[in-house]
């Protein structure tokens, strides 16, 4: 598809064509207790900017709940509601159902009100995944955004299923006998949800700042296509990943360019890579890993193992970077 065709497909979504066209007003504004250089704060700012002011937001417990309600103050301009750690999906369904009922009964005017839930990687991908799965099976218009900083960052960095192999967390500090304490590979949430939910027309992965506008446009597409949709963002976390806040943008870019985090969207079952790490020459993962203190205990063999797993993902998987199923094509032949 050419760029023009892509713009045509989502004509109603009013996609941003360049950075100068991005709306100036903020609906998630200054004055939040996030870390310096917090990427997740940008994820909040950007999705609500893309969605516009006629939006209701629900947020599961996590960094972006606690940091944004410091002692009864908030940077949110739009209506916003907190829900339980595992309640992200259910709260979105409840909100959408409530709005539909109020409109049907004529209690509020009929209009398009976006319902967006944000959940962290623990809230959205681990303990809340049942609720998210249920939400994606409904016929309500809602969007679930999983902002993934690869740990339970609010409670000082505990491991989740989204923590990458080998990373230090308070659950997996490096030791003198065992160097690598976190031995699970990162869970593949976006692809899993895309495969398993026939009602869901749009699933995407994104990084807030790279490529520019990509994430905001994905939010616009998800909201315009209708029905339940899901976006997984990778948010470099200066606190838990242990790097200087100045480099959040760099780290996100490197995660994409090394192929560690594949960027794609699955529109009505069709996969589109929004940054094709397989076609472009992948940057060695070492450049991404050695810039983070959580991997400061890595030795040569650890970098090699990490590289090998990422190579496998791009070279051997049936759908590179997305579905780790091998051999189906061979069987058919």
């Amino acid at each position: 598809m050419t760029t023009e065709e892509k713009m045509e497909e989502f004509k109603g979504a009013n996609l941003y064509s360049n950075v100068h066209k991005i709306d100036l007003p903020e609906f998630y504004t200054s004055g939040h207790r996030t870390c310096q250089g917090c990427e997740s704060a940008l994820v909040m700012r950007d999705f609500i900017k893309a969605a516009g002011p006629r939006t209701v937001v629900t947020g599961a417990t996590g960094c972006m709940y606690v940091a944004n309600t410091s002692y009864m103050t908030t940077p949110w301009v739009v209506p916003w509601m907190h829900t339980q750690l595992g309640g992200g999906g259910s709260s979105a369904v409840g909100m959408a159902a409530g709005l539909r009922a109020l409109m049907r009964k004529g209690k509020i005017p009929k209009e398009n009100i976006n319902v967006i839930n944000f959940s962290g990687d623990l809230g959205g991908g681990d303990m809340g995944i049942g609720g998210v799965s249920m939400a994606l099976q409904t016929d309500y218009n809602l969007l679930v955004i999983m902002y993934d900083n690869e740990s339970a960052a609010n409670t000082d960095i505990q491991a989740t299923n989204m923590t990458p192999w080998g990373a230090q967390t308070t659950f997996s500090p490096t030791g003198t006998k065992e160097r690598i304490m976190h031995k699970r590979w990162k869970k593949n949430v976006a692809a899993m949800l895309a495969v398993g939910h026939p009602n869901c027309k749009y699933v995407a992965t994104a990084c807030a700042t790279f490529p520019p506008m990509d994430y905001m446009n994905k939010v616009k597409k998800a909201l315009s296509i209708g029905g339940p949709t899901f976006i997984h963002t990778l948010d470099p976390c200066p606190k838990g990943w242990d790097y200087h806040p100045r480099y959040s943008g760099d780290l996100g870019q490197l995660a994409v360019k090394t192929g560690v985090f594949p960027l794609y969207e699955i529109v009505r079952g069709e996969v589109r890579y929004t940054y094709d790490a397989a076609a472009k020459k992948r940057v060695p993962v070492r450049e991404y890993l050695e810039k983070q203190g959580r991997f400061s205990h890595f030795k040569e063999e650890d970098y090699d193992f990490f590289q090998q797993r990422v190579d496998e993902m791009w070279e051997e998987w049936e759908v590179p970077g997305i579905a780790p199923i091998r051999g189906a094509l061979k069987l058919r032949k």
Binding site: S30, G37, A41, Y71, N154, D156, P238, Y243, R246, Y247
Partner: protein, 401 residues
């Protein structure tokens, strides 16, 4: 202000025979460091037969990078552990301290650790005759110009050095922990004595370099006295907390104001919690060479850039956390540079002062920037790279008129 050999004694008659120690530090960056300092102080006091314990300020958790935090340590000569704990523990915050230590000198500009706290002076808790201990390269006069006036005299101790920053997993062991112990021994032998501190450090760390660093700090700590009414009238007001019956039904938090117009401070912002005291450096913008690419505004996670009618982006320093993402993403050489926060006295709009007089604004910021440029390493604490700019980028006349 006068330089003195021995610190002034605490003349305040304390009804409780307790010494209180507070250490202010930058969240996450100095978390491990602050923990080590209060822990070591308690162990040393124990080895001297005193009762002591330490704790962290409850409301600081979860800590965020750069947000000011505090740990406390309490010491007593006669009380039992239970009695000491009953008096000093389980408090959200303490209201006075004999020694207030500051691990990063940019915190003398004020502290705002959480919402509805207001920007409070760093010397707020210092008792008459108490001590404010700052790790700094600056002379005491430089620091006093940021401190709130007190009606009494107190000590200002300066431990010469740079703020030691590290990350959550990577700890930079540059002996700042034992150096603070040395400074405390010098300021208040009643809390820890030098001999006991040396014995403890020798036994615990088994490292002569650490012992030497402690002794050096003991000798090099500079003491001076801040007289009553030295300092400034505090420019920030303390917020009035809403009473229990002023809250809305349920747990309802008032939204931030829905406002937007072009120009400085045109965006509605969270009025009850600003973030300015998180920063150690601020981004300084050369508006004359800016190409209006929007990237600083686009990548700012704290929404502090205000679009102006002429297509530039003003910075709201009240809300800027000094993360440096704008300086990193800016494609123009020398257009956005991070400069030490203590070089600045106010948070006024830089765009307005540029518009008023472009040439003198540019001259002023080039003076503040100086020649040295520091680039932090990716992993905090693993060293910085320093470079020098031979001469400033020439002033671009077209934009200036």
């Amino acid at each position: 202000m006068t330089t003195v050999e021995a610190p002034l004694k605490n003349v305040d008659v304390d009804e409780e025979p307790i010494k209180r120690f507070e250490v202010n530090y930058r969240g996450i960056f100095q978390k491990t460091l602050a923990y080590r300092i209060t822990k070591d102080l308690v162990y040393i006091a124990h080895s001297d037969g005193k009762t002591a314990f330490s704790n962290g300020r409850y409301s600081d958790d979860p800590q965020r990078n750069g947000v000011p935090c505090a740990n406390f340590a309490f010491f007593s000569d006669g009380l039992s552990e239970e009695e000491l704990e009953a008096i000093a523990s389980a408090k959200m915050d303490i209201d006075r301290a004999d020694i207030v230590a500051v691990l990063d000198d940019t915190m003398v500009k004020g502290l705002e650790p959480w919402g509805h706290y207001g920007i409070r002076p760093i010397n707020e808790k210092v008792v008459p005759g108490g001590t404010l201990l700052v790790i700094s390269r600056r002379p005491p006069e430089d620091l006093v110009q940021f401190l709130e006036k007190k009606p009494f005299t107190y000590n200002l101790a300066i431990l010469p050095g740079e703020a030691s920053f590290a990350g959550l997993w990577y700890y930079r062991d540059d002996n700042t922990d034992v150096r603070v112990l040395g400074a405390v021994a010098r300021i208040s032998p009643e809390i820890i004595s030098l001999d006991k501190a040396i014995a403890y450090v020798r036994k615990t760390y088994k490292n002569d370099e650490k012992v030497k660093a402690l002794e050096d700090a003991y000798n090099s700590t500079k003491l001076s006295v801040v007289s009553a009414n030295d300092g400034i009238v505090w420019p920030h007001r303390k917020p009035v907390l809403p009473a229990w019956n002023e809250f809305d039904e349920g747990i309802v938090v008032k939204a931030a104001p829905r406002e937007f117009k072009m120009g400085p401070r045109g965006l509605g912002r969270n009025l009850d919690y600003k973030r300015g005291t998180s920063k150690t450096q601020r981004p300084v913008v050369r508006f004359d060479i800016c190409t209006k690419c929007t990237l600083c505004w686009y990548e700012c996670p704290d929404e502090c850039f205000d679009p102006t009618p002429d297509g530039l982006y003003d910075v709201n320093y009240e809300y800027c956390t000094g993360c440096g993402r704008c300086a990193e993403v800016c494609p123009v050489n020398e257009c956005i540079v991070m400069v030490d926060e203590l070089n600045f006295k106010n948070d006024d709009s830089p765009w307005e002062s540029f518009k008023k007089d472009p040439q003198s604004y540019t001259k002023m910021i080039e003076e503040k920037k100086g020649k040295g440029r520091m680039m932090p390493s990716h992993v905090t604490g693993k060293g910085e790279s320093m470079s020098e700019v031979s001469k400033p980028v020439p002033f671009k006349v077209e934009r200036g008129n």
